[in-house]
Amino acid sequence: MKNDWEPKIVAFLCHWCSYAGADLAGISRIQYPPNIRVIRVPCSGAVNPLYILKALREGADGVLVSGCHPGDCHYLSGNYFARRKFFVLHELLQWLGIEKDRVQFSWVSASEGQKFSQVVEETVEKVKKLGPAQKLVKEFTFYV
């Protein structure tokens, strides 16, 4: 692994809480590592597990999904459904032997700018420890 390698992390943030949390972190000038690429989604419940797999396939080294705290969902229960889906995906990935630390989940509210930066820091740290993603990444070339 090259020393200057920096992980690329795709972050799916829910519009109502985590995206606003990220915004707050920005406005409050709280520093967090620049490794994440944010994709805003209406709700963590709108994150299809295929999105996560697709991000990994396209070469992301890690994926972060963040939504409202349980009970705070703008759509009442989207994050509860999400929790079940992500749990299954997480367990399955681990069982297949795909590092489950590459896929991180968090609840961050609109007022938790500080927590958001912490979550990103931890995620980046964990992914850095794992090194560049290899499993599931689409092959750049194949047999000719």
Partner: protein
């Protein structure tokens, strides 16, 4: 064409078996150039070698000011491959015709030009085999290819080229033995179809039979992917920002996407039409264009089908439904 015997002791020096396929040994490789890495499972056919399941065609790249397009060419290194008659026939009589017909498919041609085929007599036909029904046979051979019959003690060899320099004298007796062996193997297989059969199938397009025959098919496409003569492909693209490549991969007439048109119309909407296309293409449409059937009777599709569909039985049943037969 010359022929002869190599003592078993000797042929091991030149040929070795690996996973039911036969390869040249290190020593032979030195003499015959690089060995083709065809470490396939037997369930796959030899077509993979000439027509891989995925293949880059060209690569593109934004080089600062303009797009650069880089064609991908196969190396075309010399290679040697032994196949069973059904697979070899699929190459010589089918895929060669399709891909080398104008316009010539360049990658196929480069690989094909460099490939030396050996045909290995098939001494243990399986219950799925019916090559003799469609004009082939377990001892089918071709002028261009080396032909081998492995025996208990030695190997009977027929063909041209240097390899024969190692053979010892053959003789009439051995020829007779070979013929007896061939007869024995062929007796186990179904008897050939009447030669008028493929043309007659034309009248079956509207048959009621198709509903019945196709009913258990799930359009999975396992049969088409494993068939040594199915040659349909799709062209797709992979991209990473400003670079990527275009490639081709197998496609199957069993899939809905295959005939789906812009706007959503599908001329082959149900299992019946897809199924009928597969079998009539094999037995009739291809015959009209190239004068032979697009099936070499290898039985791979029969073994692969999860629902017990057998092309041999489809042929039989259509034949039965034909009042003139």
């Amino acid at each position: 064409m010359s022929e002869g015997l190599i003592a078993k002791r000797k042929w091991w020096e030149w040929i070795e078996t690996k996973k039911d396929r036969i390869f040249l040994t290190e020593r032979a490789k030195k003499r015959y150039g690089e060995w083709f890495p065809a470490e396939g499972k037997v369930v796959k056919s030899g077509k993979e070698v000439l027509f891989p399941s995925g293949e880059e065609m060209y690569r593109y790249l934004w080089a600062g000011e303009e797009w650069k397009i880089e064609e991908r060419e196969v190396s075309g290194e010399f290679s040697f491959l032994f196949l069973l008659p059904c697979e070899a026939r699929a190459i010589i009589e089918v895929t060669d015709k399709v891909f080398l017909h104008l316009p010539v498919d360049k990658n196929y041609w480069l690989r094909r030009k460099a490939l030396s085929l050996g045909i290995l007599a098939c001494l243990q036909p399986e219950p799925t085999c019916f090559c003799s029904l469609v004009g082939g046979g377990p001892f089918w051979r071709d002028e261009e290819a080396l032909f081998l019959v492995p025996r208990k003690e030695d190997i009977y060899i027929q063909g041209e080229g240097e390899l024969l320099a190692f053979s010892e004298e053959g003789g009439e007796k051995i020829k007779e033995e070979m013929q007896a062996l061939q007869q024995e193997v062929e007796n186990e297989l179904p008897s050939p179809l009447p030669s008028y059969f493929p043309q007659e199938l034309y009248h079956h397009f509207e048959d009621e039979e198709w509903n019945e025959l196709s009913w258990r098919c799930l359009n999975c496409g396992a049969c088409t992917f494993l068939c040594p003569t199915c040659y349909c492909f799709d062209i797709q693209v992979k991209m990473w920002g400003d670079e990527g490549y275009r490639f081709r991969c197998y496609d199957s007439c069993m899939y809905s996407e295959y005939t789906m048109m812009a706007g959503g119309h599908n001329p082959r909407p149900t299992t019946k039409e897809k199924f009928r296309n597969r079998f009539l293409h094999k037995l009739e449409f291809f015959y009209e264009r190239y004068g032979r059937s697009l099936c070499t009777g290898c039985g791979r599709c029969i073994a692969a089908c999860p629902n017990g569909i057998s092309i041999a039985r489809v042929i039989e049943e259509l034949k039965e439904a034909d009042p003139d037969a």
